[in-house]
């Protein structure tokens, strides 16, 4: 390997990790809800889209004109707006669409989730318009340092760091706090949890707020990295993040993180060393092979069938 090749390789690794950490950030939201309700919340990617648009409108020149006040302050404002919008939307969806179906078969909630996702996509196209919009660039993406002659940008590092912090924070929350214990209780047996005096509805609402907040954080960070937003932006990242969550073992927080980064790297290497036309096909192929050897994902635990 001569120098340019190794540089190229390092560049691919950095690209892959940076793309993967975005998948991971969104995948955490999927996994969170799945852990409690065993529901693939298809609407999660649309919650993320709405978060991006909320931040866009507030930050746009019409309201706060945040592009003129670049800096960390502006970023925090956008984050708060996106988190608030996502949480409200997430809880509303849970109340109106999922709660009435709590006792229904899993597939029904799944279809409802798809319905909600379609509803948000298409009403988004009417409300926001379907043309792409420029996300307010409140902080500049600068080159931080170099690895092997390859620049590493601040946003990539931010996304990875935020992802890791969120994962650790969630892990702590779920494992070591009272509400986390309650969440795990609801997850393992809702009926018993109820009997133990846990307010199941409140726990589930809390989970949705948490999951949706993650979507809010992701929407702002991704909006800064890829400053183009449109009402269907959730679809692509949504499916990829969902795949990442499953790859890591759905329901597992470190799994979502690992799955995301792995999927990002996988895609990157496929493009780099095999073929860009077959990017998705090969990435899915690799995923299938991994799942064949680890049927419950990389970090998921195989559930023994109870007799």
């Amino acid at each position: 390997m001569d120098q340019s090749h190794s540089q190229e390789f390092i560049q691919h690794v950095i690209n892959g990790v940076s793309l993967g950490s975005i998948y991971a950030l969104i995948a955490l939201g999927y996994t969170m809800v799945y852990g409690i309700l065993q529901l693939i919340n298809f609407a999660h990617s649309e919650v993320y889209m709405v978060g991006a648009f909320a931040a866009y409108y507030v930050g746009s020149n019409k309201y706060l004109a945040l592009t003129e006040h670049q800096g960390v302050g502006a970023l925090i404002v956008l984050l708060i707006v996106a988190i608030a919008a996502c949480s409200i939307l997430g809880v509303t969806i849970e109340r109106l669409a999922y709660r009435p179906l709590r006792k229904a078969p899993k597939l029904n909630i799944l279809i409802t989730a798809i319905g909600v996702s379609l509803l948000l996509q298409y009403s988004g196209q009417i409300v926001f318009g379907s043309d792409p919009k420029l996300f307010p660039e409140v902080i500049k993406d600068v080159s931080l340092f170099k690895i092997g002659g390859v620049e590493v940008h601040s946003l990539d590092v931010t996304i990875l760091v935020v992802g890791t912090i969120v994962m650790l924070g969630l892990h702590f929350l779920v494992q070591h706090t009272k509400i986390g214990i309650a969440m795990r209780a609801v997850s393992s047996n809702e009926m018993v949890a109820r009997l133990m005096g846990i307010n199941v509805n409140r726990i589930i609402s809390f989970t949705f707020i948490l999951g949706s907040s993650l979507a809010g954080v992701a929407s702002v960070l991704v909006g800064l990295k890829y400053p183009k937003i449109d009402p269907l932006m959730g679809m692509l990242f949504g499916i990829k993040a969902f795949v990442a969550a499953v790859l890591g073992g759905i329901g597992s927080l470190p799994g979502a993180m690992l799955g995301g980064v792995l999927l990002g790297l996988c895609e990157e290497m496929v493009v780099g060393y095999i073929s860009s036309t077959y990017r998705d096909a090969l990435a899915f192929g690799i995923l299938i092979v991994i799942l064949l050897f680890r049927p419950a994902g990389l970090l998921g635990s195989v559930q023994r069938e109870k007799v």
Binding site: Q125, P132, L134, L232
Partner: protein, 391 residues
């Protein structure tokens, strides 16, 4: 408990019967409704992707079409008859495109059809127009195969071979580039068509295609492909995609430290391009139908009318093509003595030097538009005119 279950069963058993009955009645009612035909109206159909992932292209086109219709109706229509446009959405799906055109022709009985941006959907729907002998003008389907479907199918845009040649010549002869890399959108036939032609023509002119990578519309991360391109050290990158992706591609190209200019086709034409690409897209070139710098009254009037009608928005290339497609159709209708699809077809075929926004349009014997192309350079919000290339 027992009673409630009984009732439940009753309702349950009634449901499907009811829903089936409802559906049948609706289907029959809708299938049989004959809309009262207003003899003072001329019905024209339009189909496009007004929702779904390609909605923004369909909507732009439709805005151009609607503007042309509004203008002629304000002038009193054609021989006192108002034109009515029926726009149907196909969600960007070929099968829906076919259904929509079938509906426009056999149910709404339109005299002509305008549509589709994407060649794939035009290819799916145009055979219907041909079968029922109703003229169809596509504003922006560039694949040569589209008008080969039959003598009722026309277009007002370039075809891929011409535009590919324009950019290949420009890159090789004007910019004196030797090593060009291609980044194409495999999901779009427009992009792959243009890329193929460009590659052949550029090689003929002595250039070298150093890399040919691809992406899929809708993606946002192109760094993997661009890293590959970077290794090949191209002195220009040909990206025959739509502005929706090109803005981000330009940004990421610069982030990776590449300074080579990007080259593209008419899919770039939108004010969104420079908005999304900012400084990264500055200095790049693309081929287009017209330049907004033009001082011709038809162009300036169109831009002004469009801004007035749609809240200050600058029209993009698709809107201009939609406007011209509608304009050619309107002119053809006004030339007919009796308004029948057949007569309109014949008149469209006779179009010579129609003064369109996108240039002087002549419909040739292959029912394609012959018109010259311009090459423009992106410079902030304006696209600077560089040169005109005649066919």
């Amino acid at each position: 408990m027992k009673i409630s279950r009984h009732c439940f069963l009753k309702i349950r058993s009634a449901m499907p019967a009811l829903s089936l009955a409802l559906v049948t009645v609706l289907a029959l009612a809708l299938g049989c409704t004959k809309k009262p035909t207003n003899t003072n109206e001329i019905l024209v159909g339009e189909f496009g992707s007004f929702s779904g992932s390609e909605a923004t292209f369909g909507q732009s086109t439709s805005e151009g079409v609607k503007l042309a219709f509004a203008e002629i109706n304000k002038k009193g229509g054609i021989n006192g008859k108002q034109l009515r446009l029926i726009s149907l959405d196909n969600q960007g799906k070929p099968e829906e495109a076919r259904a929509a055109v079938q509906r426009l022709i056999t149910q709404d009985k339109v005299v002509a059809v305008l549509g589709e941006v994407a060649s794939s959907r035009s290819l799916a729907a145009a055979p219907v127009a041909q079968q029922y002998q109703v003229p169809l003008i596509t504003p922006s389907s560039t694949n040569p195969k589209v008008t080969e479907i039959g003598d009722y199918v026309f277009r007002v845009c370039f075809i891929d071979p011409f535009q590919g040649l324009v950019m290949a010549k420009f890159a090789a002869l004007d910019l004196k580039k030797k090593r060009v890399a291609i980044l194409r959108d495999v999901k779009s036939d427009y992009s792959t068509g243009l890329a193929d032609v460009f590659a052949t023509e550029f090689k003929k002119l002595g250039g070298e295609i150093v890399a040919d990578e691809s992406y899929q519309a809708g993606e946002t991360d192109f760094k993997a492909q661009l890293t590959q391109l970077k290794g090949k050290k191209p002195d220009a990158i040909f990206v025959p995609g739509y502005y929706t992706e090109v803005g981000l591609i330009a940004r990421q190209t610069r982030q990776l430290g590449m300074t080579a200019p990007l080259l593209g086709g008419d899919g770039w034409d939108s004010e969104k391009l420079s908005e999304l690409g900012q400084d990264a897209i500055k200095g790049s070139y693309f081929s287009n139908h017209y330049t907004t710098e033009s001082t011709e009254p038809i162009v300036t009037n169109f831009i002004k009318a469009y801004r007035d009608a749609y809240g200050g928005k600058t029209p993009d290339g698709l809107a201009a093509l939609g406007y011209d497609a509608a304009g050619i159709l309107i002119q053809a209708i006004s030339r007919t003595t009796e308004i029948t699809p057949k007569n309109i077809r014949d008149e469209i075929a006779k179009t010579v030097d129609y003064p369109g926004v996108t240039g002087k349009i002549t419909i040739n014997e292959k029912r394609d538009a012959t018109k010259s192309a311009v090459v423009v350079q992106v410079d902030g919000k304006v696209n600077r005119f560089i040169k005109t290339i005649a066919p």
